[in-house]
């Protein structure tokens, strides 16, 4: 055997020589030994004989021989040794498992991997919580997401299989099929269901909303509701319009809505509302949606009107629990109720954000503060209120007005740190100023609710956010999106996403019409408005962005038009007049030539690069929106805008008159 092994090991050319020499050596060996073929092969590499001073093969074999003496000799207890080895290996195992765990954790946290799962069992509807006691609802939402994340490892079932077992267990309280399905129960949903019913009288509409409320309008939450002195009316979410008439924020009372269980049996159709549930996944091809509570519903036509959720600032999101308890991310009825309760007992409040919501809230709370002594601060990074909308001179003027409403405005400041001291929240800005307040309100923008897009492979617009839809608001076949969440193609002004009330109504209505076969593109321009106290109110249409070039025409304030003149005429005391003069004198230190002007009423045109009018702002000028719409539609490209402004007849109404700016707007 050895001989054969040796033969195989040797290279072919050298074989003959090997055979001749090895024979003699092998015969000398007394016992059969396994000769390492490698060493012999190495030795035979050259064709010559091995040099004489090398050890002979026999010697090597004897030296390498493995015999019984080489058997391991036990030293010490086997058990001990075993334990030591096991311990070493166990430590290695644990360390590697820990490394794997850390890697998975880091991967998940950094967002490198996304698991398309949702644990239905963890979902809880939003609590209707009006008191300070609990943490804010927004925190609940984020903690809910975290708990679902941590249970991902447990509940990675396919979404289509898990609900089916639950369905058999519980009796369904919503239909399995909906002719028209509306996801979201806000203003766009309202516009849509009205339009659908108008065109398809016997339609069966199922609305699924996350909030525990029937559809309602948002503008009064930052304006009229705060001005209503009647507490019982405010409890019922009722406010007074400019003409004195009482109105509720709810579009329709709850009796208007049909019972979801009976929806498909109603001969004349109906509108059923399911509250407190969220749609978590949608299959556009199979026209199916899955709810957070496990139900699966199929539809014929569907509208996504999920709106948005308020943005949070990192500095507030990472603040201590005491600060977070006293922070309100303002958007809903629940937030209004909470802030209303806080304001009754608080001594001071800080509003972060200088846009529409922030400024309107500041004015409303400032007005309350003038009566109750509530101190109101407003902190924002822009140079003035509505800095992103109004041209700089107008923004600065507005800021002064807001200041006169009793608000301590702090422009060009960003909150750098938060702290909780002596029962108050201390906000310190990057300029070094700090305010101590009982409550913080954040109004820093809106994020479109596009969770559904991620779980359902719908397109999200990277520039504007929101679901990407075409000019007819269609995302996919028989699937439309309207309202704050829709990034649509405006045939006149290009692709954009609008977050205003009128747009929600108009786009909701358009979507409803298209769902019943109208196939109309977005054409009717929506408008928006804002009121900041009794002196300042404006309406606007189109793209109103302060970074655009603007041309404005203002009615020159004659002596009889200034608010000061009005004050004189009404015989108000000199002290108020003196205060006005002082404040104006103080402002004249500013270098800008436009600062000392008084902007009574006028019109501002916003122009794009091609000198086309893309937006119009009507400053304290009312009832002229239809003219603005026409001008916008035309574009007024080569026109002298001074001449165009004449069309608005600015001297039509006098300044200071208690015009009802909000009358038509609120009711629209």
């Amino acid at each position: 055997k050895m001989y054969r092994a040796h033969m195989l090991a040797c290279r072919f050319p050298a074989k003959i020589q090997c055979i001749v020499r090895r024979d003699a050596h092998l015969l000398c060996l007394k016992s059969p030994i396994f000769i390492s073929p490698v060493s012999l092969l190495a030795r035979c590499m050259s064709s010559h004989e091995t040099p004489a001073h090398w050890k002979s093969t026999k010697q090597i074999c004897l030296e390498n021989k493995s015999h019984m003496n080489f058997l391991p000799v036990p030293e010490g207890s086997w058990q001990e040794n075993y334990n030591k080895r096991q311990k070493k290996w166990n430590i290695m195992l644990l360390a590697s498992v820990a490394a794997l765990g850390v890697t998975c954790f880091v991967l998940y946290k950094s967002g490198s991997i996304y698991l398309h799962t949702y644990d239905y069992r963890k979902f809880q509807p939003l609590r209707s919580d009006a008191l300070l006691a609990a943490s804010p609802d927004k925190e609940e939402t984020s903690s809910r997401i975290n708990t679902t994340a941590s249970s991902l490892l447990v509940s990675e079932e396919d979404t289509s299989t898990s609900p089916s077992c639950e369905e058999e267990a519980i009796v369904r309280d919503i239909p399995a099929h909906a002719q028209y399905m509306i996801i979201g129960a806000g203003t766009a949903a309202f516009g849509a269901f009205r339009a659908i019913k108008a065109r398809d009288p016997k339609a069966k509409i199922l609305i699924v909303g996350e909030e525990n409320s029937v559809p309602y309008m948002r503008p009064p939450l930052s304006k009229e509701l705060w001005f209503n002195e009647d507490k019982s009316e405010v409890e019922n979410m009722q406010f007074r319009q400019w003409n004195g008439k009482k109105r509720s924020v709810y579009y329709e009372p709850k009796e208007f809505f049909a019972d979801p269980k009976k929806l498909n049996t109603l001969v004349n159709g109906g509108i059923a509302l399911v509250k407190g549930r969220k749609v978590v996944k949608l299959d556009a091809g199979n026209k199916t949606v899955w709810l957070s509570t496990g139900e699966k519903v199929t539809y014929d036509k569907c509208l996504i009107a999920t709106g948005g959720k308020p943005r949070n600032l990192p500095i507030l999101a990472n603040a201590s629990p005491e600060v977070k308890e006293r922070t309100v991310l303002y958007r809903n009825i629940e937030d209004f109720k909470r802030l209303n309760a806080i304001v009754e007992t608080a001594g001071s409040v800080a509003i972060i954000g200088g846009g529409f919501l922030g400024s309107e809230l500041a004015c409303a709370l400032g007005k309350i503060g003038q009566k109750t002594g509530l101190k109101v601060y407003q902190i924002f990074p822009e140079k003035g209120n509505m800095g992103h909308v109004l041209p700089e001179y107008l923004s600065k003027w507005t800021t002064r007005k807001v200041g006169k409403e009793g608000v301590d405005v702090m422009p060009e400041q960003v909150v750098a740190s938060t702290a909780f001291q002596d029962g108050k929240v201390v906000l310190t800005t990057n300029e070094g100023q700090s305010v101590c307040v009982d409550c913080v309100v954040a109004a820093v923008g809106l994020e479109a609710n596009v969770d559904l897009a991620r779980s359902s492979n719908l397109e999200i617009d990277p520039v504007n956010g929101g679901f990407l839809v075409n000019a007819e608001l269609e995302a996919r076949r028989d699937l439309w999106v309207a309202g704050d969440a829709a990034c649509f193609y405006d045939v006149k002004l290009g692709r954009r996403r609008v977050e205003h009330h009128d747009h929600a109504v108009v786009s909701g209505r358009l979507a409803g019409e298209n769902m019943t076969g109208a196939a109309k593109p977005y054409w009717h321009q929506s408008m928006f408005w804002s009121d900041l106290g009794p002196d300042v109110g404006y309406e606007a249409i189109g793209i109103v962005d302060s970074s655009l070039k603007t041309v404005a025409v203002f009615a020159k304030a004659t002596e009889g038009d200034t608010p000061k003149a009005v004050v004189e005429a009404t015989g108000d005391n000199l002290r108020s007049e003196a205060r006005e003069i002082q404040s104006l004198a103080g402002d004249s230190v500013k270098k800008s030539p436009l600062d000392t002007e008084d902007y009574g009423k006028g019109v501002v045109f916003y122009l794009n690069q091609q000198k086309t009018v893309v937006g119009i702002l009507l400053w304290n000028t009312f009832n002229k929106m239809s003219i603005a719409r026409q001008v916008l539609r035309d574009g007024a490209r080569n026109e002298d805008l001074y001449e165009v402004a004449k069309l608005f007849d600015l001297y039509d109404t006098a300044v200071g008159e208690e015009e009802p700016p909000a009358a038509e707007k609120v009711s629209k």
């Binding site: 019913k197 003409n243 009796e255 020159k556 035309d634 165009v644 069309l647």
Partner: protein, 148 residues
Amino acid sequence: MSYCKKEGKDEVIFATREDLDVPSTAIINFVEDEADQQPGLILPNGNINWECPCLGGMASGPCGVEFRNAFTCFHHSKADPKGSDCFEAFLCMQDCMGNYPELYPAPKVSMSDELSQMSAGQEGMNLEEVAGDEEKTMPDLFKTEGKS
């Protein structure tokens, strides 16, 4: 005296009343857009505009279909007084509305009262796009409709 100021990219013109009174030389294409027109309650072709905000939630509520039948019948009625041949439709509607007292709180007017209200006014109607807050109550709607 009007004057103009400029701050960066923003131009501001302050104009006096006299200057603005001079007729405008701007040429703006005022498009008579079908889509933009707010048709009001009655469409140009004579049909009822069910999307009119003046109707409020009437046409879309639980009794929407009954209301539509009654109102359509009334609108096309050529009898004198107008709508007197629509008794069944109105009865149906009132029956339905009785089931939802919170939604339709208008006092239950008797049929004869309603009809007399309708025949009361015969002047030309001028019902433009009215805002939602001026939703008509039931008798109002038929009264103004009667004016057409």
